[in-house]
Every structure is written in structure tokens, then in C-alpha cells.
Symmetry: C2
């Protein structure tokens, strides 16, 4: 593995496990087994590494949008994409957990992210239009409703991880599925009878227990 | 003002402006003009003050639920309550911004918050049932959908502030209204024709420009 890749991989591990405050050029260099001077030959400072990791995350999440095929759109497809994306986000959790801090320190990330969200809004709008064309999503009942729904969905996608760290005691599959289920259920009120039929059939096949809220509370009530 | 109140007020100011890392018993004591020893007579450590501030926030937000009157329920009422609550949350923004850190350091806050969310879920469910009884909200089309919608709403309410710090350049009225509008629009797909009529009338009276997404991006496109 190239030194550059080792640095990135080690920085991600430390940032996820220890948070920003405890990660420095020195702590990364020590773990990789190089001198701080050698490290700064590759990356000027920790912020530069954070930007690199942010771009890695963005690319990984973009992959699933590129795979998009119009005829495949269904609640099941969204669910599976969401679980996949949430696993990727978990792998870069320090970014989602401290995103306000990251964007405060790093103007490049903030500007990039704002433009990314604007682009996502258009892409998701395209999904919605395609689902309307496929007859699984209703025409908009109130002007502007779908654009608002899309922004809510984007906010939810950035927020689930922090929420999970407060409400879950164990982090893993169950958590990804809990939030993907919530995410997809946001689509349900907009489905046509045809879309609802697919949703109900898929739900029935999964045989989930009835939804009651967060598992952490249920165990104690 | 009592010393105890001065301490709380100064701690909140410092926490909001500087974040956890820079606030200590000493920095608060210095600003209040007492000795650290005198301060610890009132509060053992910063975590104890944080717990106190958390409880203040919870009480302030509970007030609007206590004021609830069944016949008043409307999208307009929800909007006005939401703007009011978001202002209160802004006043304690350090808590929402770093809530994962707070709950990691403070088991008392985490346990209290989990139970609070469980209670909110029941209260919001009561709102929904009342709105169904008033004929402004539809019966649930899919079992469990309203409970999921309620959890989404709670996640949104905890997440808007972090989102605002990334997407807004100026913090104030416009921001509170932007997120309250998003929050309330989550209700729209569940409204009956009667509910929708009230929503449309209220929206028309406000005469908002069409929704396009975050204002920060619009200025640059």
C-alpha cells in the first residue's frame, strides 16, 4: 500500500474512534511509522486529510445514484440503496457526527456540500418525476411539496447517524435497517395504489414486527 | 439576580459562543466574578450545569405542549408553535449542536432524553388522533405509518439547527421560518381535503415566494 493511502486509512480510523480534538499530524505519523515531516509532504495538515476523506465519502455515495435505472425504482430498491449508503456513512461517521465543526473549519467542504445538496435536490426530483411517470408516485397535491419533501429527506439522511448514537446501544445491522425503514416510510404517503401494493407486498415478505419506536426504550418499558 | 442564576446564564452564553472545549469552572467563575470554589458550592462541575440547562430547555419546550387545545389544531397552529420552539432551541444551541457529545459524557441526559422521546411519541400520536377526529388528518393508510412519521418529525426537530449552521449565512427569523415551513409541510400529505383547504388558505395569506431549496445556494445560481 502506498504511504499516501496508509495515511488516509489511519487518519480515518483515528478520527472515527477519537474525534477531531485528539487527532494530529503527529498521532497519524506515529501510527503509520513515518516522520511528521514526511507526512506533511503528502498532506499539509489534518484539514487537508479531512477534505480528502469527505471527497471519498461523496464519491462512494454518488455511486448508487449513477447505478440508477428508471425501471428499477421501487420502495424496495430505495430501501436497499439506503441501507448500503448508511453503511458507507457509518464508515466515515466522524464527518457526519461533527459536520458543523468540519464546515466551520473548512470553507472548501462547506461550499462543496452546499452545491452537492443543490445537485441532490435536482437528482431526487428526477427520481420523483420518474416515479410519477411509472405510476407509483402521485402527482404533487400542493405546489412545492415534493421539493420540500426532498430537502427533509436530505436532512434526515445527514441526521440519522447522530440520532443513532443517542438512541442505540449497539451499532450494526439493526440500526441501519431501522433508519432505512424510517427513510423509506417517508415515501409512502405519496405512493399511488400501485406503488402502495408493491410496498405492502415487500413489507409482508420481510415479516417485520410492528413498529413501536426506538428499541432502546422498548426493552425498558 | 442570585449567584446560582448568574452562573447558569453565563455558562449558557459561553457554551453557545465557544463550545464545550473552552468552557470550564474557572472561565465561568471569572466572568461571574466569584472564586472557582464558590462556584463549585453551587455546581460540582460543568456537566452538572449542562444537565441543568438541558432541563431548562426541556421545560421551555414542554410549555407549548401543555398549552395544547384540541380545537385549535391546524397547520397554522403547528407552524406558529414550531417557530416559537425553534427560537427556544436556538437559545440553547450548544445542546443541539453537540448532543451526541453531551449524551456520551452525561448518562443522566441520555436516559432522560430517551424517555422524553418515548413520551413525545405518545403525545404526538395523541395530536394525530385528535386531528383525525377533527377531520383534518386522514386515517392511517398503512399500519405503523404515523408512528414512523412521528419519529421522523422528532429527528427533524433535533437536526434542523445543525443543518442551519451549514446552510445559512445569517441566523435569524428567515432561518426559523424556513425550517418551520419544512416541518409543517411534512404533515401535508396526510391532510384530508378539509385540512388541505385550511393549509392552502393559510399559505395563500402568507404570500411566500415559491419554494426552491436553501437560500444560500439560490443567490449563487
Amino acid at each position: 500500500m502506498k504511504t499516501r493511502d496508509k495515511i488516509i486509512r489511519e487518519a480515518k480510523r483515528q478520527l472515527n474512534e477519537q474525534g477531531f480534538d485528539r487527532v494530529s499530524i503527529r498521532s497519524i505519523a506515529d501510527a503509520v511509522g513515518i516522520s511528521p515531516g514526511n507526512l506533511t509532504y503528502h498532506f499539509k495538515n489534518v484539514d487537508t486529510i479531512v477534505y480528502e476523506l469527505y471527497m471519498e465519502l461523496v464519491e462512494a455515495l454518488s455511486a448508487s445514484i449513477q447505478e440508477f435505472q428508471p425501471h428499477k425504482l421501487s420502495t424496495q430498491w430505495f430501501y436497499e440503496q439506503t441501507v448500503k449508503n448508511y453503511r458507507v456513512m457509518w464508515d466515515y461517521r466522524f464527518l457526519l457526527l461533527d459536520f458543523v465543526t468540519v464546515t466551520r473549519k473548512n470553507r472548501q467542504v462547506k461550499d462543496h456540500f452546499r452545491q452537492l445538496v443543490a445537485m441532490r435536490q435536482l437528482q431526487f426530483r428526477m427520481f420523483a418525476d420518474q416515479m410519477i411517470a411509472n405510476g407509483i408516485m402521485q402527482e404533487e397535491r400542493v405546489a412545492g411539496l415534493y421539493d420540500r419533501f426532498i430537502i427533509q429527506t436530505i436532512i434526515f439522511s445527514d441526521a440519522w447517524l447522530s440520532d443513532a448514537l443517542v438512541h442505540f446501544d449497539e451499532f450494526g445491522d439493526r440500526m441501519f435497517h431501522f433508519y432505512a425503514d424510517l427513510m423509506v416510510s417517508g415515501l409512502v404517503p405519496f405512493l399511488t395504489e400501485k406503488g402502495l401494493e408493491e410496498y405492502r407486498g415487500w413489507k409482508a415478505s420481510k415479516n417485520d414486527p410492528p413498529f413501536r419506536g426506538y428499541p432502546s426504550i422498548l426493552g425498558k418499558m
